[in-house]
Symmetry: D2
């Protein structure tokens, strides 16, 4: 693990996700640029101090030379602007990568990571964990099965209320860098939240966003960047839609949701109630599909632990991604052929698509909202 | 009443709304172009056949000359393309008008009706009945009171699933004319549904839509017109938003809803559950405001009949509009000064705004989705 | 109409219900024991003063002697303790009756009214209006059709929060007599609210409550009567259940709901959302049945006016009862055979069943909660 | 761990819960009576085979004699009928216990375990995991804080649909022993499900059930035992309520829920949506309290990992219990005084209360439903 010292929120989520299914063990890392802090974190995590490294570069080099006990995968949970360098280094060293989202901040970099991963046949998993939810997988399966007919309209949102006040001026470190015009810029709301909605839309529908028309605005007065984005979307099959990303939608808890309308049925999923999926067939009443119920797809069953009425949530969705990667690594290590499932964990392609989407949206907005193509990757 | 013979759906709603509060009596009309059908309808409605007229023009002229018992207001429930001529005739004859929405099909006509109504100091009420719901009035009051702070984002939808199949080829008369490329054209989904969402957004927020960027598409294959529209909006105070109008969103019952986010709170209302309003203040938990509960505004109380937990719905919202017009007419007839409340029934201005909005959206779409100004009226 | 002078809440609901479908006209009445108040009410209601009577007895006698224009039915909206005398008088005079619920306060009286109505072949309709909701009718039809298999468990509630404070000491007239130990007694919560839940359970399931075990308690301190009742039920087919009646369940709006579980499926309906019905078949996901949707029963269609997504509520349910009675009266007046539908409006039998149920529950409670038979009527 | 070999559902939940917060490590066990199966399980779980024991008795004796590395606590996940012997043995050997619920099958045994644990000052935690949910803790805190005033009515349910068919005849091992008239008897539905609702009611309200009147029935035809129970409750402060336990309520997912009504407010919690709590104060609108939101109690914050809008569920609630026990053990081991919090994990007292409750309910039912005292323990 690179990053994730004391106080780093998302790293703890990654570590919990590793433990949950008992498929992954954390054995090495650089937990802070400050080596004392890094070692302190390692001690808390009961990691052998011999495998605490001064920086990611040394870690990649040393670990890549270990024999039987080298790390299977490096987990990157640093700030986004460092993802590219770190991921590239590990890939170059022949080490697989799990990287927190978004993949990086430029399409050029994203493509380079994708190219590297493919060239070296290494896994690069991006933890868009929402793609790991059992009912999101089920939704994706239903669309692939044709239960919705041709997808015509997609309404995706990640409109959270987490930064509905000037947190950045109240000592909130996450808010500080995410609203810093230099570090993050206006694209922050799209990189941080928009890419989740974009990935969810792609994952569930199997379609690509080919064009975007973007409008951005500011909700919280005094903030240095735009904190709200409303986008029109065109999809690869001709479907249309909208995407709303916001960090200041008061009263929305987490605010990730998707509604997909086809010409034979519709689906709706909302992260605040992740074990249910609303399905409306053309000829029949609305159905509430519940995780763990009889009759769901193999994908839904595969990623359900306790069964009907026993809610699984954020950590389980994250653990699903980790377990899926662990199984892929195991398959590779055993020489079994490993083919990533269409409905499997997000990878470098997904990451690059996300970056391309944000770049296109920013260009659209800069040019007054004209329809702007999203590069196919 | 002009229109509303046998089988005309919305006319029966108007008549029910008239009766509900016992403030209006139907006493004259032209119920069909076929005078025999018209008289038959009149008999069923127990209307004196002396006041069944061969056409609206005769009706306007004869009624305008009656003394004490002339009609107070003419109700127009014909197809939209005839609204202008009929409304103009009654206004010219000095008779007030209640007109089904949308007001008419061109801005020029809409302005003429508005001008006429103002010049003659006559009421021209447009039955956007959703503005009549107690909790919609309450929402509007809360925004005016500043409970949401500055409104920043407005998400409005009228995405219904009513025409999710080719009803127009299955003998459904409403669907036939609403999807006829000559009679209704691509603007149909905006005139029929979009104007409801537009009016709801304006009514609740007190803001005007000043610019629109529009995208239209088709869900039902084989349909002669676009049946889906996704719009980006800019509002008069700088707020942003989206509006989704659809006639083929499978699984959506009626699909009219609005969410308003300010910098101090947010509100959400959904027509499928019209007696509740979700309110999220910045500093506190989400609240479910219920019609009839203690502590609501005067507007909410004014338009509530039975009280907490006794649902009122579509007909009551419609009746609220009728009763409000009846009271206005009574005030005028008694020489009391009548000033339309900001939160009162929709009128010619609202109707003209709606037509301007549709025209701008159509121009935006025709020009590839560029931001297009909506004329202030 | 007997009763229903100024300020009488439920009378206005009855009058609105009469008007809604334009099948009933109010033409005579005794609106108050104070004849001046009665005449004032009549003027407001535009009723011919010749048909305002000094008391119900005179009204019954005079009206029963009128020829062509005599009233078809007398509506009784007085306080419950006077229902028996008034209803008996009209029935004895050969005039049909619509009576607000509960029918009366003793089983002996209830049976007498039932006997009279049957002997004279007169309609005695009891306005348990919740039996008039389209989706309640649909639920009843589904149970009759066997969609739930054998009904095994019934959970019924009418636990309202309307009197969660000492309203009776704050000048609230309804609360005053409903919590008066002499006028209403501990049985008040059962007569006023429990009978609605009891009727709803019977209507939906087609079963009778054969035994009851009752516990009563007090929520609001200082109240002179019990305001809460929890009952265990045994049904005629062996099903079990509970019934909760309360007038002081804080936060419950109206609080009428029912859940029915069979061995093939289950149903749930809640008055706060009356246009939807939750249906869970044994082999399949939960379905949300919506009023106005395709595929519902004839009963649901019959009592739906505007269609899918256009909410109908309290007044429409009440109007359904009135319209149904109007049609029955019309059938009788035209000499057509009239057979009350099993799923039709509540009548004297239902009323007597309700009174028997309350009496048995009170006896059970008085004897320490032992199972007590409910007389079959 | 005793029990929990291959295929034992709940053991895997316990193990996941141990790992989640990284406070517990599984190091010894008897995973099956078949020693080969036991060793196979140990290998899968990466447990040192030296610490796999032939039976719980040997395990207790050997482990109790180890020095620095002896187990801190024994986890019992066997079938209920063996809980008593195993728990007694570990307690007698000076080893603390975490036991799956219910504690045991007789009150005499339960009291003996409680006595032993107290005498030896050992922790005996009972994994009623629902008491571990952050929002359940918050509910309990609100009641203790007086936010509801005096608790007056408690409606508790654990009415699941898990065994709505004859699973026991379809090779379902859980269903087989839970519906075996010899092994489990009619009390099964109360022991398995009723005790969860009973514990939830006690935990949230801080009240004891002092009397119960019980009715039991059968939903699934052909089943050898009663699978449904409806109970009336009296609480220690005079409050009343009901408890519904069922294993065959079709369409209910898990079916655990509680509603508490006081004279100043009410609360509702439903396991299918565990991160929200409905709160209705007497003077104000209904509030939806959300896990992770600002302003919640220290208890809610303490047991929340990821924050607002990031759902936590079944495994996290279970992990909360484990982590709480781990902290208590740590405190004890460090010589810090450890006082179990009123809102802390369920223990032997809670377990004994649950058994007493079931025994009283069974006696009430056997005697025709008379009110039966529940022994205070």
């Amino acid at each position: 693990m690179v990053g994730g010292g004391p106080g780093a929120g998302i790293a703890e989520t990654h570590r919990t996700a590793m433990r949950l299914d008992d498929k992954c063990v954390l054995i090495a890392g650089v937990f802070s640029r400050d080596s004392e802090k890094s070692r302190r974190a390692a001690r808390q995590l009961r990691i052998d101090l011999d495998r605490v490294y001064p920086d990611y570069s040394v870690m990649a080099e040393v670990e890549s030379k270990r024999e039987s006990d080298r790390i299977d995968v490096a987990v990157i949970v640093t700030r986004t602007d460092s993802h590219f360098e770190i991921a590239r280094k590990f890939l170059q060293s022949g080490i697989q990568v799990i990287c927190d989202k978004p993949l990086c901040l430029s399409l050029t970099e994203a493509k380079e990571l994708k190219r590297l991963a493919e060239e070296k046949e290494l896994i690069l998993c991006l933890t868009h964990n929402y793609s790991g939810y059992a009912m999101v997988r089920h939704a994706a399966r239903m669309v692939r099965n044709g239960d919705l007919g041709k997808v015509c309209v997609v309404q995706a949102e990640h409109a959270s209320g987490w930064a509905a006040t000037l947190l950045e001026k109240q000592g909130h470190p996450q808010a500080a860098w995410r609203t810093d015009p230099v570090l993050s810029g206006d694209s922050s709301v799209l990189f941080d939240l928009g890419t989740h909605a974009h990935q969810l839309a792609r994952f569930v529908t199997g379609l690509e966003v080919t064009e975007v028309a973007a409008e951005m605005s500011q909700i919280v007065q005094g903030r240095a960047i735009k904190d709200n984005a409303n986008l029109l979307l065109r999809f690869s099959n001709g479907a249309r839609g909208t995407l709303w990303a916001s960090m200041a939608a008061i009263g929305n808890e987490h605010g990730l949701r998707i509604r997909v309308y086809g010409d034979r049925g519709s689906l709706a999923w909302h992260h605040e109630d992740p074990c249910h999926l609303r399905y409306c067939p053309l000829d029949g009443p609305q159905q509430i599909l519940a995780q763990g119920a009889d009759g769901l797809s193999a994908e839904a069953k595969r990623w359900t632990r306790a069964g009907l009425g026993h809610p699984e949530g954020f950590f389980e969705s994250f653990a699903n991604i980790y377990t899926e990667v662990a199984e892929a690594i195991l398959a590779k290590s055993e020489g079994r052929s490993y083919v990533k499932d269409e409905l499997g964990f997000p990878d470098a392609s997904d990451g690059a698509r996300g970056v391309a989407f944000v770049e296109s949206a920013m260009r659209s907005f800069a040019s007054g909202g004209v329809w702007t193509a999203v590069e196919a990757i």
